[in-house]
Subunit: 416 residues, 2 copies
């Protein structure tokens, strides 16, 4: 059984919207044993849409379509679906009830265009929309499946979870595909590749195992993929390869699969019963934002100081004006003073700090754009490490936050 | 002239990586008058790749390919390109110099796999990579163009800016496509659609103008698109439609095109010579992070208090323990006290605050998950507004930060 993901929408073709639906749908179809062979995006033109439907239906066992089901004039998917399956619209009472309920809950008057969304193509199973007014359609014909869902991501994902995936798990074939991703940071792709060496030493080629290198600004991810007859066997195969990779690159691997660095440090802090405060200059609150993305972070994240101005560094953290004057705000000394003060002012076990030049303005030959100091302080030591990320502002903040969280992780794992 | 964007990579088909390249390339090709008709993604299998190359070359005038040019074993695009164009590899001295230079700048030893990346298909113009080791290939044959670039986004974007776009601007045909997006927040898609009414009242259909509604968690965007013979005419057409839309929905439109809410409030604060401090509980630093994404924000962003614990609300902002005890940390009273204290402690013109229940834990019947108060304080007034976003944690933070920045924008535009 193979699948295509088909996205519809001019907003995608002009590059206004980044398509997150395709990745989500692909991941979920994979998880129930249905590999995605192709993804395609076409515009809101009925002719293009119909041609894409026809090609997909001919070449794939399953087609997952999103987009063009909204209430406005540029939403044309429903009429193309009717044309493709040679069917007509009928009113779906459950969809109408759902629309009425949604409007009632929001305390808004229902509009005529919304009511019209309860008209659905005859011959499909109707999937109700938990978060919006457009129902989805599930067609099963001639041994093939076509799933049509709204393009709004959180409406689509709820429909996948509630209806599509439970249904597909029952009917998908029994081949098992499993992936595991080892996330590294602080090492370049080519260095990592040299460190790990020839993949044929890690596993015999052509036995259903692949290893992929995926670079990103936050680090290189290593994806192990296996395809075999049972979940148990897949698990063993993945573990064997993972062990061999860890033997060579353990230090750089900070997390597995969906886990982020903030999840990992959050778990360690929770286990140890430690808490933390952060003092951020150049990252402007981004480290605090990441730490508090984790549910349960209030147990270890005490507070954050976004000390953007020099005055705030002195007022909030007691970093002396003379220290700033002598060494500059972007210096080892100020990073250390900030980390230590974050810890002592907030009365936490650990303090973490950043001070750097995000750019594009503010650089000098001695202190160029991209220079940054990360400070770390606990009850036994206070240190600062220098990094250099000469890139654009948002990427600089991302990379600096990642470096700071990695400094924290390594210190937590090797306390002195 | 029409184009297809072709992405290569198993990581895309299993949903591990969200494809941001397609949107970027589409937007840039549009900007030089080349509409993208289709986007497609295939895996790292040479057979699939070759078939995709053949289909694209047959149906489109221009094909923009990304991915599979890296130094590791799973990068197969180069050999498929050679097969497709029936050509061989030759060493490109400029590419070799570039690779050597990159490694020298990083202070890293050069590896054999990197050196091999200087071998390129014969018959193309070689595009040097400003940020990485893989060069790109620009083929122009039989009146058609194929552009092959690395999949790493910042390497690809630099290659587009430095080589592809300047070259294409010269040869693209003279049809002009222009888009303008009006960004709204605080109003549902169907309400906005009712407010704006029948699009045929805004412009005659089939005169090359379209209007699209694009909902997102941060608000509904309205995209006006025009296609005509001259840039001047396109500009007039867009302005005419924009004026008609603004006449009906002005209050909800906070920005145009790429501008974000933080850019807009940053511009107003700069113009007025005002500065701001924020006190965040449930948004955990996300508002400070957004405000400091703007280059030049140090002129008006003084500091941020990420007061996650109740102790920090008292210690940093002087919010009395009895006030928190009486009304709860998530209350109008505490939101107002936080906003006022942010302003007075930091000695700024404006204070902005958030306090809410991000979830998934911590809700009660009286104060459910998703409840949030946004506080605003200036020298003349201190207020708080209530919002309710019962959604998952990260989306809650995003929507709350957007609501808070919109409260700020409206207050800045209508001072009392």
């Amino acid at each position: 059984m193979n699948a295509e993901v088909l996205s519809i929408g001019d907003e995608l073709l002009i590059g206004q919207v980044i398509n997150t639906n395709q990745a989500y749908i692909a991941e979920k179809l994979n998880s129930v044993g249905i590999p995605v062979t192709r993804m395609i995006t076409v515009g809101d033109q009925p002719g293009e849409m119909l041609a894409a439907f026809q090609f997909a239906w001919q070449h794939f066992d399953l087609v997952a379509v999103t987009g063009g089901l909204g209430p406005t004039h540029d939403d044309l998917t429903r009429s193309v679906v009717c044309e493709f399956f040679r069917t007509d619209l009928v009113r779906d009472e459950a969809a109408l009830e759902n629309i009425k309920k949604l409007f009632k809950a929001r305390g808004l008057p229902m509009t005529r265009v919304n009511e019209d969304q309860a008209m659905v193509p005859k011959g499909c199973a109707v999937m109700q929309n938990a978060h919006g007014t457009a129902p989805g359609y599930f067609f099963e014909q001639q041994g093939k499946i076509m799933i049509i869902m709204p393009g709004v991501p959180y409406e689509m994902t709820a429909m996948m979870e509630d209806f599509v995936l439970p249904h597909l798990s029952k009917i998908a074939n029994r081949q098992v595909i499993r992936h595991r991703t080892l996330k590294t940071t602080g090492i370049a792709e080519s260095m990592l590749s040299e460190l790990i060496g020839d993949v044929s030493q890690l596993f015999l080629p052509n036995q259903g195992i692949t290893l992929a290198y995926l670079p990103s600004p936050l680090g290189v991810r290593l994806r192990i993929s296996v395809r075999t007859h049972s979940a148990e066997h897949a698990g063993h195969m993945i573990e064997e390869v993972e062990e061999k990779i860890r033997a060579k690159a353990k230090k750089y691997i900070y997390a597995v699969d969906q886990e982020d660095l903030e999840d990992v440090v959050g778990r360690i802090l929770t286990e140890r019963g430690l808490n933390i405060a952060v003092a951020e200059s150049c990252t402007g609150g981004h480290i605090a934002d990441r730490l508090t993305n984790v549910s349960g972070s209030s147990a270890y994240f005490e507070r954050g100081f976004v000390v953007y101005s020099n005055a705030s560094k002195s007022a909030e953290l007691g970093v002396s004006e003379s220290l700033i004057k002598e060494h500059g705000a972007v210096s080892r000394e100020v990073a250390e003073a900030m980390a230590e003060a974050a810890r002592t002012v907030a009365k936490t076990d650990i303090g973490l700090s950043t001070t750097g030049i995000a750019g594009p303005a503010g650089g000098t030959p001695a202190k160029p754009v991209g220079l940054v100091w990360v400070g770390y302080s606990d009850k036994k030591q206070t240190i600062a490490l220098r990094f250099h990320y000469p890139t654009e502002r948002r990427r600089f903040k991302d990379r600096t936050a990642q470096a700071a969280l990695e400094v924290l992780r390594r210190k937590l794992l090797t306390p002195e």
